[in-house]
């Protein structure tokens, strides 16, 4: 199909930073030797934390499941090679926070022996089973969001699926893993795309590639000739053209609002790496245990490697020759990446790029100046927000106002901070505001549920009191009617004074209780009212 036939749309804003992509595209994708140990984090995707399936000392094969998905909104984790599980313990995460999390540590046996794998005959299976299979194969979005892919491979309830958007834009500077994958394995990617198109029952699939990757566009176009309903389209290079919403907009003209599913608009978006992973899982029966990772920045030879999850980042980077002055790694690109808390954190499914960072490469930001409302940020925002207004309100902790200015539509692409002449770390302010709002919502939810429990308890106590009173009234009425019939003198008095009768009855009961208490252990003595409230004591807010 001809790429020029498609009408393209555009999004507002965006920036054009120096791409720095050329250096890492000179050499083909390289394989890596086995490291001494793999540290495989169990939680590598959005959703539930997988449950460990192995125990320390257990032998595992390459591709064997070591973590089972916790529910459907989760994804399995597999052994990257054959070897022995030497530990299951919390280790440092590939995340700025420096938090630890449960990892399966595997010592390779050097044989690199696969479990039995076989092609999935997905044509003859119901779609739900294929989706379960992909969940158990650990396939998640490899564009960076690591959202479980099987969850997304379902058309909207009311809207027929029109366009499957495949994201090969790769707009972040430095990153070239998708570029190289498209250059080297275009047909396999497209076989994955074909499977996805079938699962989604989409009319067409469109692969969007930024036009600064002519080699990838050419190789994909050549491969696409063999497929039906798959179109390869070069899109203008402008960060963040690779944002899912921006790419959907460019290719289809549809703007998917925040909080809405793109399937409700008849579109769905996947990364090219994810398409390749789906091909491997279904056609080869291989679960997701590796991905292409760009190593760039302060290294001798920037290059792409096929890296298994759990490989320490410094092990990967040393193959590219880490240069002196490197003080940390940045995972992802310079616009949205995260600085790693240590050099040896493991490569995970979200690791598309490791940038060796040095003060020369990414100098510390100049001093922050006050906002002069110049509006550069608003002109750069691809979501049409007024970033400086959100900044003022975040700074003032006026979180309600930040939401009025659509804080949660912000995709944290960093364009605003990139252009800000006052060097304000704007995205940090939004991250701060978002976490504060989430924390407050959690607090409010907790308070709300406590209030609901408290009110329910009060209602119950009220109801029980009322019922007791009714019962008592009924009993008194019954006693009175029996007294009238018996004509007993003592009870006759009740006709004159019902209160006296009640007192008499109560005294009689107390006497009986006292007698009981003398028999029984003193523990039984506490009044009924206290024993009744005890189980609920902990519920008091």
């Amino acid at each position: 199909m001809n790429a020029t036939l498609r009408k393209l749309f555009s999004f507002n804003g965006g920036v054009k930073p120096q791409t720095n992509k050329l250096d890492s595209t000179r050499e083909p994708i390289a394989q890596l030797p086995l490291p001494a140990q793999f540290v495989v984090p169990l939680h590598q995707s959005v959703g539930g934390v997988p449950i460990p399936l192995v125990s320390v000392g257990q032998k595992v094969l390459k591709g064997e499941r070591v973590g089972a998905p916790d529910g459907n909104y989760s994804s399995a984790i597999h052994a990257p090679t054959s070897g022995t599980v030497v530990a299951i313990e919390p280790r440092l995460m590939a995340h700025t926070s420096g938090l630890t999390m449960l990892c399966v540590v595997i010592e390779p046996d050097g044989k690199d022996e696969w479990i039995a794998t076989e092609k999935l005959a997905y044509h003859s299976l119901p779609a739900d089973e294929v989706r379960d299979y992909l969940r158990d194969a650990g396939v998640v979005g490899l564009g960076g969001a690591v959202f479980p892919s099987h969850v997304k491979l379902k058309a909207g309830k009311n809207t027929p699926m029109k366009t499957l958007v495949i994201n090969g834009a790769e707009c972040e500077p430095f990153i070239t893993c998708d570029d190289l994958l498209m250059r080297e394995r275009p047909e396999l990617i497209l076989r994955g795309v074909a499977i996805m198109r079938e699962l989604l029952q989409a009319e067409e699939a469109v692969v969007g590639i930024e036009d600064n990757k002519p080699e990838a566009v050419a190789s994909m176009q050549a491969a696409a000739a063999k497929f039906e309903h798959i179109q390869i389209v070069a899109v203008p290079t402008r960060y963040p053209a690779g944002g899912a919403k921006q790419l959907i907009r460019v290719l289809t003209g549809i703007e998917v609002p925040h909080g809405k599913r793109s399937t409700d608009y008849g579109v769905q978006c996947f990364n090219v790496g994810t398409a390749y992973a789906i091909y491997e899982a279904i056609e080869l029966g291989r679960p997701l245990i590796s991905r292409i990772v760009t190593v760039a920045g302060n290294v001798e030879k920037p290059r792409n490697y096929e890296v298994r999850f759990g490989t320490p980042m410094d092990f990967v980077a040393q193959h590219a020759g880490v240069k002196a002055g490197t003080d940390s790694f940045v995972m992802g690109g310079p616009m949205m990446g995260f600085r790693m808390p240590a050099l040896d954190v493991p490569v995970v499914k979200a690791t598309n790029c490791i940038i060796a960072s040095s003060p020369a490469l990414f100098p510390p930001p100049p001093p922050e100046m006050p906002c002069i409302r110049c509006g550069e940020c608003a002109r750069a925002c691809p979501t049409d927000l007024q970033p400086f207004e959100m900044y003022w309100h975040s700074r003032a902790k006026n979180f309600g106002k930040t939401q009025e200015y659509h804080l949660f539509d912000c995709i944290e692409c960093g364009c605003c901070a990139y252009v800000c002449p006052s060097n304000i770390p704007l995205v940090d302010y939004y991250r701060f505001a978002k976490t504060e709002i989430w924390a407050r919502e959690r607090q409010k939810d907790a308070a709300d549920s406590a209030r609901v429990r408290f009110e329910a308890r009060n209602d119950r106590i009220e109801r029980e009191k009322r019922e007791k009173a009714e019962k008592l009234a009924a009993r008194t009425a019954a006693a009175r009617s029996s007294a009238i019939t018996s004509g007993d003198a003592a009870i006759n008095a009740t006709e004159d004074d019902p209160k006296k009768a009640l007192i008499a009855a109560a005294m009689a009961r107390a006497k009986a209780q006292k007698a009981d208490a003398e028999h029984a252990a003193p523990v039984a003595a506490p009044a009924a009212s206290t024993s009744e409230s005890q189980p609920n004591a902990g519920e008091q807010p």
């Binding site: 999004f11 507002n12 920036v15 930073p17 120096q18 700025t96 500077p173 919403k245 907009r249 703007e255 998917v256 609002p257 925040h258 003080d327 940045v330 992802g332 310079p334 616009m335 949205m336 990446g337 995260f338 600085r339 960072s357 990414f362 510390p364 930001p365 100049p366 001093p367 100046m369 006050p370 906002c371 002069i372 409302r373 110049c374 509006g375 550069e376 608003a378 002109r379 691809p382 979501t383 049409d384 927000l385 007024q386 400086f388 207004e389 200015y405 659509h406 539509d409 960093g414 901070a417 990139y418 252009v419 800000c420 002449p421 006052s422 060097n423 770390p425 995205v427 940090d428 991250r431």
Partner: protein, 336 residues
């Protein structure tokens, strides 16, 4: 070290923005010197020195980093706008006092850079024209030589006894006002005066052209957007055109209004001050349109020859509500 993304930044800074504004003012400054002599350069120097001194002093008192903020050039921009808005042969202390008011009161009492509600230069102008209306109306005549200009600026003489007529000349808008109101003459007859040139005031048209050139360059450099200058000039043209068409004997032509006075300075350098102006695209259009209407009304019906300063201050007050009511639709919510 653990700073967050983005780790790269465009080559941009407040200093750079301010520097571009100063560069954009140079064509007008050059034309000013060419047509009226070096008085304006003296005023620019006086204003700049005052601004830097006042800025440094207040920053020190406020416990702010002095060097960081003094080198951002924002005070110099304010100073230059004051020097260009004040008469170039006014006594030296006027521009000094005006600049000090702008920096200390207009800027720092509101919280410094980025926090001021009012355009500091226009605040200073308003204070000075209310306090010293006659001194603020002594504009140079083109025949005044350098020595005469120096004498006018630094000469120790009582304003009342200054030989004003020899050295000063009324501005076109002033002449028009006086002619129409006091003498009851028609526009045509007033326009016979030699203070009028081919567009706006004689000799002033070149300065105006300088502002236009610098302003267009600022737009091209994306320091300002097209919204405010375009909306201001078009609206001023439309409203003055309306009155002019209905009653040409009493109301000056749109060309005069657009070219004379501070129209061009305002359109590109005053109303576009990002701190005190509206910031949304629609907000900027509304802001500039209202600014044009106010400027016109003050010129034609108010008691000051030009209306740019007061229009600016009045509209500065309206900025929060204009911005709030003109938020652009967010991605995906355009049909909401």
């Amino acid at each position: 070290m653990l700073n967050n993304s983005p780790y790269i930044r465009a080559n941009n800074s407040v200093t750079r923005v301010m520097l571009k504004v100063l560069l954009a003012l140079l064509p007008a400054v050059a034309a000013y010197v060419w047509q009226f002599g070096i008085g304006v350069l003296v005023q620019l120097a006086l204003a700049s020195a005052t601004a830097l001194a006042a800025e440094a002093l207040v920053l020190k008192v406020r416990g702010k980093p002095v060097q960081l903020f003094v080198t951002d050039l924002s005070a110099i921009v304010t100073a230059w706008l004051i020097a260009l808005a004040f008469p170039s042969i006014g006594p030296w202390w006027m521009v000094v006092v005006g600049t000090a008011i702008a920096i200390v009161v207009g800027k720092h009492l509101y919280g410094g850079l980025g926090q001021n509600v009012f355009n500091p230069a226009m605040l200073a102008y308003a204070v000075m024209i209310v306090a010293f209306p006659s001194l603020m109306s002594q504009w140079p005549s083109s025949q005044l030589d350098t020595a005469g200009q120096f004498h006018a600026i630094f000469g120790i003489s009582d304003p009342a006894t200054r030989a004003l007529d020899a050295i000063t000349s009324a501005t076109p808008l002033d002449t028009l006002r006086t002619g129409l109101r006091a003498a009851g003459a028609s526009v045509d007859s007033v326009m016979q005066s030699q203070v009028f040139g081919w567009a706006g005031g004689k000799h002033w048209e070149w300065v105006t052209l300088g502002y236009l050139i610098g302003g267009v360059w600022l737009c091209q450099q994306k320091v300002i957007t097209w919204h405010i200058p375009t909306a201001f000039i078009v609206s001023l043209g439309v409203i003055s055109g309306l009155f002019w068409v209905i009653h040409p004997v009493h109301y000056a032509s749109p060309l005069l209004h657009i070219a004379a006075g501070a129209s061009m300075l305002g359109a590109f350098f005053i109303f576009t001050d990002p701190v005190s102006a509206a910031s949304t695209p629609r907000g900027k259009l509304i802001y500039a349109t209202c600014a044009a209407i106010l400027t016109y009304l003050i010129r034609e019906f108010g008691s000051f020859p030009d209306g740019v300063a007061f229009a600016t201050l009045l509209l500065n007050i309206c900025v929060p509500i204009i911005d709030m009511k003109t938020q652009p639709p967010v991605f995906g919510h355009k049909n909401d």
